[in-house]
Each structure stands twice: as C-alpha cells, then as structure tokens.
Subunit: 169 residues, 2 copies
DNA sequence: CTTGGAATGTCAACATCCCTGACATAAAGT
DNA sequence: ACTTTATGTCAGGGATGTTGACATTCCAAG
C-alpha cells in the first residue's frame, strides 16, 4: 500500500505521505502508541494510588531539582490548584521536599527525597525499557525521524520554551 | 548514570541512540507532542461540552460504521459502563445512531448521523492540519521513521489486533 | 421445549482528576 | 503604605473511570 516510488516520482507522488489517509494513520498511531507509552508507569502508579499527574511532577522535579511551583505549573500546563493537590500528597508521603526559597522566600523549591528518587527510577526505568525496545527495533534512522516529527507536533509556543530544554542533561 | 560508553567506540557508537539520555529525550518528546496532538480537538470539544472520550468514540464509529459496542470497547480499552455514558450522550444529542443488530439482536450497531459526521470532519480536519504541518516540515523519510517507532511502542497484544487495521481504508 | 448459562447492553452510585472562582498569607517591589 | 507576585486553600462543577446490579437476548444441554 505504501511506497509507490518505483519510477521517477512525479511531484504529486512525492507528496503522497501528506494524503488524508496517511495523516489519519499517523493520528491513529499516535493514539495507540501513547497508550503503550503510559501503560507501564500507570501500573506502577496504581499500586501506590497515584495518577499520571504525580508521575509528571516527579519526572520534572527530578529533571530540574530546585525548580519552583510556578515553573512546574508552566511546564505542565495545569492550574496551581490541580498541581497543589498532587504536590501536597507527594510531600506528605515523603517523596518530595518543598523548601522555602533562599533569595526569594515566596518561592518553594522542589526536590525529590531519597524515596522520591527511588520511585522516579522505577517509573523511568519502566518507560525507558519500552522506549528502548521501540528504538532498537526501529533503528537509528527511524528514531531520528521520530524525533523530527514529534518536535514539529509540539505547540509552537511551548516548543520555543522547551526546545534546548530536552538536550540539557 | 547515563552513557558510560567511553571505550570500544565502534560497536557502542552505533548504539548511541539507545543511551538513557536519548531515551529520556524520546519520553519527553512523546509527552509534549501528545499535548500538541490533542490541543486542537480539545478546543472544539470544549465548545460542545464534550471530552476526549467523545472524540475517540466518534473517530472509530466513523472509521468502522456499524461496529458494535463491544468492538468499540475492545478498541478503546475502557469499560462498557464508561463508554455507555458517552454513547448515550452522543445518541441523545443526535450525533450517533444505535441500531439493534439484525443477526444478533443483543448487538448494537453504531453509526454517525449527518451532524455526527459533520463534527467528525471538524475534529479530524483540525487534527490533520497539525499532523500535515509536522509531516511536511519533517519530510517523508522522517515520517517513515516516526511511524516505525510508534508502531513498536504499541502494546504487543494491541499491535497484533490493530496492525493491518491502520492500513484499511 | 424448557431452562440455565453466557454475552451484551443499560442504569446507578461512587471515586478521581482537572478545571474555575474566590479568598488568604507572606514576601518582594515601588 | 500600597501593589504585585508566589503560593496555598476551600468550594463547586464537569469529564472519565470504576464496581455492582439488572435486563435482554442468544444458545445449548437436558
């Protein structure tokens, strides 16, 4: 069904990957793949009665130790009320440490505690396992294309804020 | 913690796309891209006070007119009760037609009505627009890689059921 | 033919998560 | 002193998911 690039592709044939049908396939792939993408962490979180919101908070606190509540709200695109419930639980459960800012005492700098880091490791290891399998089976060139397309799918405004962010260690 | 591939560069360099850091980037890309992927439909759905569950139902009913409730449950991976509330709303609002099966009267065959098809068009057109932009900016080779990786990310069990499904018109 | 189990679909009650709106507190800036 | 910023909290509502109970229909064993 795919590639009809046998002889001297005309201009219209070069754009065959932009047909509505190809786009629909991309849409459905995105949906099914995302379900797989979240499946493993979801199972781990369920045991602790946490949800994806907890996972996202833990992930980004691990990525940027000391980031403030507002910065996290910005990254996640949720309301402070929504995030606050999640953070309160994580702090109460001893997974996250919320310290008053030193320069600006209004800020709360967030850090993972030892148990918090342990959960983060468990979650990200599971997610990496699936991602590694997918990358490995698809090959390096496919991975490059995967990243190229996904980058373009991010909201332009968010992309500007997040680009360069991904590369930082 | 991340790549310790300092020695023996030949073989390990070929696997650099499998480092923990590359995988982490893939994970974050997947998260941010999915937010973009759902942003446009979400805005349209909000006006009608619908959610993503309604979108998914509408999408697959459009794709497979006449499919049964159970088939839809299988595709979406939700409980019948959860799906039922969504379907009831859509039927009440005149977007979906639920007809008693002719062979097996326990079945309900689902169809989009005229207004249902109109909403589906609106939703998928918005989603295609973003997908088309991403595909177009990334190029055909990138799109091929994108599809390859996403396919591999789908849960193996689900992939078996869905593969071949995507290609069908 | 009847009866009992299995498949299918529906309804009700409840939990979770995210949202908006309003308000409180503390600290920084002017 | 007054305003702005950052954060936290409470109240209420909507969307989505769950479990439990129940109705309908089909099918097959007795």
């Amino acid at each position: 069904m795919a590639a009809g690039f046998t002889t001297n592709p005309t201009r219209s044939e070069q754009l065959l990957f932009l047909t509505d049908d190809q786009l629909r396939q991309g849409i459905e792939l995105m949906y099914f793949a995302y379900r797989g993408f979240t499946a493993d962490p979801d199972r781990i979180l369920e045991e602790r009665e946490y949800g994806r919101a907890h996972h996202r908070a833990i992930h980004f606190i691990n990525r940027r130790p000391g980031l403030t509540v507002n910065e996290l709200i910005d990254l996640l695109g949720v309301t402070k009320q929504s995030l606050n419930r999640v953070l309160r639980q994580l702090v109460e459960d001893g997974l996250v440490d919320s310290r008053v800012g030193v320069e600006d005492r209004r800020h709360r700098n967030l850090y993972l505690t030892e148990p918090g880091q342990a959960l983060e490791q468990e979650l990200s290891a599971a997610q990496r396992r699936r991602m590694r399998a997918a990358f490995s089976n698809a090959g390096p060139e496919a991975v490059a294309g995967f990243r190229k397309v996904l980058e373009q799918m991010i909201d332009p405004e968010l992309r500007a804020r997040v680009v360069g962010w991904l590369d930082r260690p």
